[in-house]
Amino acid sequence: MSSSTSKALDPSSVELWDHSHHHHDVISTRTFGFWLYMLSDAMIFAVLFAAWEVLSYSHNFAGGPTPANFVEPGYVFLQTLALFTSVLAYGFTMVALKNGNKAGVISGLWGALILGGAFLALDINDVVHLVGMGITPERSGGLSAFFILTQTHALHILFGLLWMLVMLVQVSRFGFTADVVGRLLSLRLFWHFQAVVWVFVFVFVYLRGMLI
């Protein structure tokens, strides 16, 4: 060691970095980067859950309707089933991807898309129904927090569905290239993450809201 460092180095010829070709694992790097994005996205939900927590006391509803008056648990459970089966369909999409089964990936994506669309349709129908009854975000602080939290989740679902449409096109046009596979993996994290958020929304917003 001392013998090699004792040799005088010529600054004009010294190698400052390693030029040899290493395998850069693009899929791992992108997936990790997307996971960090999902965690920062989760901070948005953390803030909205904190807002819901402090605005869900009965006095925060300004004498107006509370979730106890309008939440139909059976209806929300139907939404739960739609989202969880959509997440399951995306899981089977990933199994088909593992087996290199293109038709399986396409039908899995369609399944996840349709079931996720059912979730979103149920949500939109619910919001229209509530607004029709005069239950709107501007009615009280409690309802503002209720709507912003549930609809931020619904907005995530909408973007997940758009992303699935894009992936349907990309899988059929380009096949399983590294880019397409990487995007399917990021969408997996995104979509499965929505199920985790929904567990909290279902239990701590809808079910707990029924106890206010």
Binding site: M43, E53, S58, F92, L211
Partner: protein, 123 residues
């Protein structure tokens, strides 16, 4: 591990149909139980919220393990580290806010005793 075929990447190969089906069954069951407990007013509010929190926590742990594949494997250890380092932020953001406002409400408003609850619990 091959660097040519993206389908051979460990991130793809980790997919498991059995794990996904198990997650679906467990989380649907837990959400169904939570729903029935609330709909039937099966317990006093505090105990009910405790059981609901346990159900939600268990469902989320199952999902994070089987869907997100958070574990200590070479492929996923840094995802797990990032998650573990973010969890304190969630606890601080939600827990401290809830605590501050619950004491604020107690000190600034005349409230019925039933409105006082534990942070994150029934009000």
């Amino acid at each position: 591990m091959s660097h040519d075929d993206p389908l051979q990447h460990p991130e793809v190969q980790v997919a498991s149909g059995r794990g996904y089906l198990l997650t679906f069954l467990i989380s649907t069951l837990l959400m169904g139980v939570s729903l029935l407990l609330v709909a039937n007013h099966a317990m006093p509010p505090f105990g009910l919220m405790l059981v609901l929190s346990l159900c939600a926590g268990l469902a989320v742990i199952v999902q994070i393990y089987f869907l997100m594949h958070m574990d200590l494997s070479e492929t996923h250890i840094w995802n797990t580290v990032a998650l573990v380092l973010t969890i304190p932020l969630f606890i601080l953001a939600i827990g401290l806010t809830a605590w501050m406002f619950s004491t604020l409400y107690e000190r600034t408003m005349v409230m019925l005793p039933s409105m006082h609850g534990m942070a994150g619990m029934v009000h």
